[in-house]
């Protein structure tokens, strides 16, 4: 018998048409329920579920801890996955430049401050959700529109060559793990 953690349960979306639900616990102990179709968008989570042998019967009794993602990001991720769970599979990109239109709903969802967006990208990268990653990258890529190199350095926090060299020098001068 599994022990339910004493934390608030966040119901992002009630999924009535799909009886299989999973529970996810974020790093700050928030619990989320997510439908099977939605969780499949995360390769990491779905691999975990299949490896743990979770089924419709025992899924809710075995919450999945995700140490690297906090509740705020997990909420956005669950919202996103529930929204896009029935989307058709993306066609393979033939061009190296990814051309797609970012839907308005998703643009709204990702209208968060840059620090949060940064954390969301790291979380999305960890959970391996390709579509959300594409959308986040588009939002960040769009920040570069019509900017000069000087402006881009500020927006993206890009160090100059001299700063990069100094960082590399200090990294090579610092003693290794053995001291």
């Amino acid at each position: 018998m599994s022990v339910e953690p004493e934390v608030p349960i966040v119901q992002v979306e009630e999924v009535r048409e799909n009886p299989v639900l999973y529970k996810i616990i974020s790093s700050d102990n928030h619990v989320f329920t997510i439908s099977e179709h939605a969780v499949k968008l995360s390769k990491t989570l779905w691999d975990l579920i299949t490896n743990l042998g979770l089924t419709a019967e025992n899924a809710l009794d075995n919450p999945i801890p995700v140490e690297n993602v906090n509740g705020k990001n997990m909420e956005t991720i669950v919202q996103f996955c529930e929204r896009h769970k029935y989307d058709e599979e993306e066609p393979e990109y033939t061009n190296y430049i990814r051309e797609f239109v970012l839907p308005e709903w998703d643009r709204q969802l990702l209208s968060i401050d840059n620090e949060e967006l940064f954390q969301l990208i790291l979380a999305t990268n960890y959970l391996d959700i390709q579509k959300l990653m594409d959308y986040c990258c588009r939002v960040i890529g769009d920040m570069a529109k019509d900017k000069t190199p000087e402006e881009l350095r500020i927006i993206y926090g890009i160090p100059t060559d001299a700063e990069d060299d100094a960082l590399e020098r200090s990294a090579s001068d610092s003693p290794g793990p053995s001291g």
Binding site: D134, K147, T148, G157, D164
Partner: protein, 344 residues
């Protein structure tokens, strides 16, 4: 006062950094640059060497470049077809009073593609050369598709050689009227023209001494003035369609060409389908060819020769307008004509 002091750090923080792209995992950084438009990507490549490398890691994008060296020098980058205006980004160069060196994205031009204006003091040649160097290092697979040479602006110091010395080869060279003869000589001596060459004028009255022995073009040559060519150029010809006008070739040069064509093997001279040499010196009659050997042939309109690999060529002299034409028939079996050997 207190309020002002307390809010200052906040203001600076806002300005300092919005999102730390350098701290993203590499794959994420790649996805981000792949989601950018070409102009933004190019701007990003100017931020640092690391980001130039990141931008350059997108394979084959962009893959072609046009250079225009005339009154309004430009560098245009694009992917695929020049006619597809959506993929073009163009660098323009503007003098700036204060000698500022910076790049500014500018609204789409009338032609419908985004531009970047380089404000470069009074040294737009240096600016163009350094931007070209940067682009060639960031996009090493990007080929210089076309160079258009023309007359530069009066009273502007712009040394085209600075830019041209960075270009080892180009597919298409278009030389317009009033191009500085020295620049033309420089490009012909230093840049290999691989596919198409067009020169629309005869350089008068400042005729150069002929200097060029070869063109590497495989598709077309249209030289409406041949004051620059040495006769040897015919011996290295391997171009599908060639037209040389206002030349100084003599019959012996043509005969040398035909003999070389006859004895050439493999890919050598194999591209040639049509060669016209016209409006130049008057050719001698065909005394060198012993026409009596071929009593059945009407030499007044032309005759055929055949290479050992079966390739047929038709020679036509039009004495009345000093024109020599040479056609080859890449054997389709449709033309059944007698062939006659050239004289030894």
């Amino acid at each position: 006062m207190d309020n002002l002091i307390t809010c200052l750090p906040g203001l600076f923080r806002k300005k300092k950094c919005k999102i730390k792209l350098s701290e993203m995992p590499l794959l994420v950084k790649l996805l981000i640059v792949q989601s950018m438009e070409l102009r933004d990507l190019i701007m990003l490549s100017f931020c640092s060497k690391k980001f130039a490398k990141l931008v350059g890691s997108i394979p084959n994008f962009p893959n072609k470049m046009h250079l225009r060296l005339d009154r309004f020098p430009t560098i245009s980058l694009f992917n695929g077809d020049w006619e597809d205006r959506t993929s073009i980004v163009q660098f323009q160069f503007r003098m700036s009073r204060y000698g500022m060196k910076h790049l500014q994205p500018t609204p789409d031009s009338k032609k419908g593609y985004p531009c970047i204006t380089a404000f470069c003091g009074n040294k737009s040649d240096v600016a163009m050369a350094s931007i070209l160097t940067h682009l060639l290092s960031v996009f090493p697979n990007c080929i210089i598709e076309e160079i258009r040479l023309g007359k530069k602006k009066k009273r502007i110091r712009f040394k085209m050689e600075k830019v041209l010395s960075l270009v080892p080869e180009v597919n298409v060279l278009d030389v317009e009227m009033e191009t500085d003869p020295k620049i033309f000589e420089f490009i012909m001596n230093n840049v290999k023209v691989m596919r198409n060459f067009t020169k629309q004028y005869y350089q008068e009255p400042i005729a150069l001494e002929p200097f060029s022995k070869q063109l590497h073009c495989t598709d077309s040559i249209l030289s409406r003035g041949c004051e620059w060519t040495l006769p040897d150029i015919l011996l290295s010809l391997n171009c599908r369609h060639s037209v040389f006008e206002y030349h100084k070739f003599v019959t012996a040069d043509l005969m040398a060409f035909l003999k070389k064509w006859m004895s050439s093997e493999g890919e050598e001279m194999k591209n040639i389908e049509y060669l016209m040499i016209a409006k130049g010196t008057k050719f001698d009659d065909m005394a060198e060819i012993d026409t009596s050997k071929y009593p059945d042939v009407d030499f007044t309109t032309g005759f055929d020769i055949e290479r050992s690999d079966g390739l047929l060529g038709t020679i036509v002299f039009e004495y009345w307008n000093f024109t020599f034409c040479f056609y080859t028939w890449h054997n389709t079996g449709e033309f059944v004509i007698n062939y006659y050997n050239l004289p030894d």
